[in-house]
Structure formats: structure tokens, C-alpha cells
């Protein structure tokens, strides 16, 4: 369960989002669509509490932004898989360890880490690149690694920020297929994108955002 209730997030510059409300039901596929600068990333940042709602509140599973303690934030984030717009892959370690990293953070055992990472890499079709470093990969491959990292801990909901941002149509399609497949296994999916044309091909619910407001 993911709910936003009248969420306002304001940056010091005055931009941000205003009074945004929507919900994502378990297993649902939702697209948050809007032009650049509309506030899509800001919505997602609010959900994983990188930005804090100035007004309204956000509910993720058992966590409510009104009541959550700072030290509980890591546990909220562990419920989410986030594919960041800028990937946030770590250049000092190889693909395997980039994905394993999420499980190391939550203190999983080595054997389990290995099993889960290999499965996540297989899910995104990159098992054979596990010893490469991120900077040795193409944009599409980096995107897949970001997906593998987001799903490796079996999140409750997957947040994807512009997952096909700089990719050609064929690669975009492949990436979307991966996400849809994960959604079919029961993980809720919230994809933020400016690409309305692409979104139309999938039967997810569409939420439109413009100038920081949901329309």
C-alpha cells in the first residue's frame, strides 16, 4: 500500500510539488507522466523520504511520514526498490557487488547474497557481465543493473524514475518488458516518465503531473 495525501514538497527555490494525492494498490502498475520539471522525481523522493513533505502525508506499508522516526527511515527504504534517474551505481565495485551491496547493507548472509544477486542479474539478462564495472557498460546495461539492484531485496513496491530516459526505442522496450515481468510477479510498480507515447502501450494506470500538481 502506497498513499500520498495532499503532499506538498517545496524546495528553497520555490519549486516542488503541491497537494499531490494518489494511491498505488498492491500489485498495481502505475505511470506518473509529465514533462521535464513537472515534479516526478520530487514525488518519488518524497516516497523514499529523501525530501520531506512540508504538508500532507505519505503512507508506505506500515510507515507514515507523519509519525516515522528518523532512525526508521532505513527500514522504510528497505521496503522499496528504487531505480534512480541517475542510476547511482558505484564505480568502485563490479556489477555483482553493486547489486550485492543492497543485501550487504541489510546484513544478509553471504550464501544468500550470492543466490539472490545471481537471480536478479538473470532477471535483467546480465548474468554474463557480473564482473564488469559500471563504467564499462552501456547506458541500457547500467539501467538494467539499477533494476537488478532495485529488485534484489524483493521490494514491496518498485519505484522507477525515468527508466528509459536516454535509451533507444528497442532498448527502452526491453527495459519496460523487464519491469512489466517483475510487476506480473506481484510487485507494485510506479514508473515516472515524460514519455507518454511509450506508456500508452502498457495497460497500467496513468497519473498526469504538471507544474507540481496532479491533473
Amino acid at each position: 500500500m502506497l498513499e500520498l495525501h495532499n503532499v506538498t514538497i517545496t524546495y528553497p527555490t520555490g519549486d516542488g510539488i503541491r497537494k499531490c494525492s494518489f494511491q498505488v494498490a498492491p500489485g498495481e502498475m502505475v505511470f506518473l507522466v509529465g514533462p521535464s520539471g513537472a515534479g516526478k522525481s520530487t514525488v518519488l523522493k518524497g516516497i523514499y523520504l529523501d525530501e520531506w513533505p512540508a504538508e500532507g502525508h505519505i503512507v508506505v506499508s506500515e510507515f507514515n511520514s507523519l509519525f516515522i522516526a528518523k532512525r526508521e527511515i532505513p527500514y522504510l527504504r528497505r521496503r522499496l526498490g528504487v531505480i534512480f534517474q541517475d542510476f547511482k551505481l558505484l564505480n568502485d565495485r563490479d556489477v555483482f557487488r553493486n547489486v550485492a551491496f543492497v543485501l550487504e547493507v541489510v546484513g544478509r548472509r553471504n550464501k544468500e547474497i550470492k543466490r539472490r544477486v545471481l537471480r536478479a542479474l538473470a532477471d535483467v539478462g546480465l548474468s554474463h557481465k557480473s564482473r564488469k564495472y559500471p563504467q564499462e557498460l552501456s547506458g541500457g546495461e547500467q539501467q538494467r543493473i539499477a533494476i537488478a539492484r532495485a529488485i534484489v531485496n524483493e521490494p514491496y513496491i518498485l519505484l522507477a524514475d525515468e527508466p528509459t530516459g536516454n535509451l533507444d526505442p528497442v532498448t527502452s522496450r526491453e527495459i519496460m518488458d523487464v519491469l512489466v515481468r517483475i510487476n506480473l510477479r506481484g510487485t507494485s510498480l510506479l514508473v515516472a516518465t515524460h514519455n507518454y507515447e511509450m506508456v500508452k502501450n502498457y495497460n497500467g494506470r496513468i497519473i498526469r503531473i504538471e507544474n507540481g500538481e496532479i491533473i
Binding site: L76, L90, F101, G107
Partner: protein, 282 residues
């Protein structure tokens, strides 16, 4: 698993601030070593004085004209002086044979007559030595006709007594410098490592790492630096003590826990320094 991961990260952190890490370890080592040497000297100052200055405190060379009876009465007089522990008579013959021992040649080879004067060696009590003004006593004795010359064997002693007085102050001062210096160096190195890893730290936070988990490698880094610095200091002090013991056995008594304490001091500095850096910069 988690701890293993933290240690792995800690060691890889070193490679991100290699020079700074090395300088920090060296600084901790150097400062702790100086501290240790001062602590050893100041806690063993009386023992050092005793060993280096064990044979006599004041040697009174007697005039050649004195009879055995006169020497005996001087001997008795010295014995009754306050603070005197023991008086030993060194006859002309004994002086000559000592000369032979020290210089390896017979003094009679060159001279027909033994030119060495007899002497009385006065050993003072350890505890009164400090308070008595031996210089004045020596000067007074010097004036007496039956006495040729008085030699004080206490220059080194005086220096050491002075040293022991100021060494306590110096010790505390050094300790403060060591503490501040080590803490600063450690927290600065940790700061550099944190800066180098900022993107990783941010990402860790975004994927749900707890603060404790993120901090642990840095704490381990600090403790490791302190451990290595303290360990090196303990090792060098140990070597030094072995050397000193070869030259002057029993000169310095050091409890075994002294080395453990050096190591512990390093570790504590590392812990506090990195805790500070992590609280401040993370």
C-alpha cells in the same frame, strides 16, 4: 557477514586516503613513543640514578700525611653525618690496583712511588640525597687541611632530580599534545575517507543502510589506525628496553601491562577520533 563487510570496507577505505592514513599511524606511533619514553624515564629516575651512580656519592681524597688513626677518626666522623649510609675506605694500594684494573698498566712501572691518594667514599641515603645540599658539605670539607680534595659524583644525579621534577609537568603536557594530535590526525583522516566515499555513503543511505552500519567501517578504520600506531610504539619501546637491559641490566623495570597500555591508548585514540569524525562529518 556484516562485520566482515565492515572490515573489508574499512580496509578499502585506507586505499582512498593512503598518505593521510600513513601519516596518522606514524604520528600516533611517534607521539605515543615519546610519551612512553618520558613515562619510563620519570618513573625510573631513582633507579637510573642508583645504577649509573651506584658506586659512590662523594669521594674524599685524603692528605698523604694522615696516620691510620687519623683516617679512622675521619671515617667515624663521616659515618655520623646525617644522611650518610655507608663510608668505605680505599687505601693507596687499593687505588693503585683499581688504577691497574681500569687502565691496564701498573702505576709503579712509570713511577717509583704510588702517587694515588687514599680516599674515603661516602654513600648517602637515597631519600635524603635530594634534600641535603651535598655541594655545601663538599665545600666545607674541602677547607680542612687533612683533606686534599672532594669530588662530588652527583652531576648526573642533579640533572636527573631536576628532570624528575619537571618531567611530571612535561609528561602531562606531552600527554595532552599526544591526545590532541592523535585525535586530530585520526578524525582528519576519517574525514578525508568520508569525503572520498560521499557518493557511496549517500547511495547506501538511499538503499536502506542504517547509520550504525554506515559508521562502522569508519570506526574500524580509526581503531585500526590507533592499533597500528600504538602497536608500533609498543614494539619500538620493547626493542629499546631490550637494548637498555643489555647495557644496564635492571636499570629499568617496566610492568608487562605497559605495552598493553600503549596499545590500548592507541586504540582508544582511534576510537574517540573516528567517533568524533563520524558524528561531525557523516
Amino acid at each position: 557477514m556484516t562485520l566482515f563487510y565492515s572490515i573489508k570496507e574499512a580496509i578499502s577505505g585506507f586505499s582512498k586516503a593512503r598518505l593521510s592514513t600513513f601519516i596518522t599511524i606514524f604520528t600516533i606511533f611517534f607521539l605515543l613513543f615519546i610519551l612512553a619514553v618520558f613515562a619510563i624515564l620519570s618513573s625510573n629516575v631513582y633507579r637510573i640514578v642508583n645504577v649509573l651512580n651506584a658506586n659512590y656519592d662523594m669521594q674524599v681524597y685524603l692528605s698523604n700525611t694522615l696516620t691510620d688513626a687519623e683516617i679512622e677518626s675521619l671515617n667515624r666522623e663521616f659515618r655520623q653525618m646525617p644522611g650518610v649510609k655507608e663510608v668505605r675506605f680505599i687505601s693507596k694500594e687499593a687505588a693503585a690496583s683499581e688504577f691497574k684494573q681500569v687502565f691496564g698498566e701498573d702505576i709503579f712501572d712509570a713511577l717509583e712511588e704510588n702517587p694515588l691518594p687514599a680516599s674515603l667514599v661516602i654513600l648517602m641515603n637515597e631519600d635524603t640525597k635530594v634534600k641535603l645540599n651535598l655541594e655545601k658539605i663538599a665545600k666545607d670539607l674541602q677547607k680542612r687541611p687533612e683533606i686534599d680534595e672532594v669530588v662530588l659524583h652527583q652531576d648526573a644525579f642533579n640533572a636527573l632530580v631536576k628532570f624528575s621534577r619537571i618531567s611530571r609537568i612535561v609528561l602531562y603536557t606531552i600527554f595532552v599534545i599526544v591526545l590532541a594530535g592523535s585525535l586530530f590526525m585520526i578524525s582528519n583522516t576519517i574525514r578525508l575517507i568520508i569525503l572520498a566515499r560521499r557518493p557511496i555513503i549517500d547511495t547506501m543511505q538511499l538503499v536502506g543502510a542504517t547509520d550504525a552500519f554506515i559508521r562502522r567501517p569508519f570506526i574500524i578504520e580509526g581503531v585500526l589506525q590507533g592499533f597500528l600506531g600504538g602497536g608500533a610504539a609498543a614494539f619500538l619501546v620493547y626493542l629499546l628496553m631490550q637494548l637498555v637491559a643489555l647495557q644496564w641490566p635492571g636499570l629499568i623495570l617496566l610492568p608487562n601491562y605497559f605495552y598493553a597500555m600503549l596499545l590500548l591508548a592507541g586504540v582508544l585514540f582511534g576510537l574517540v577520533g573516528s567517533l568524533f569524525a563520524v558524528k561531525r562529518f557523516l
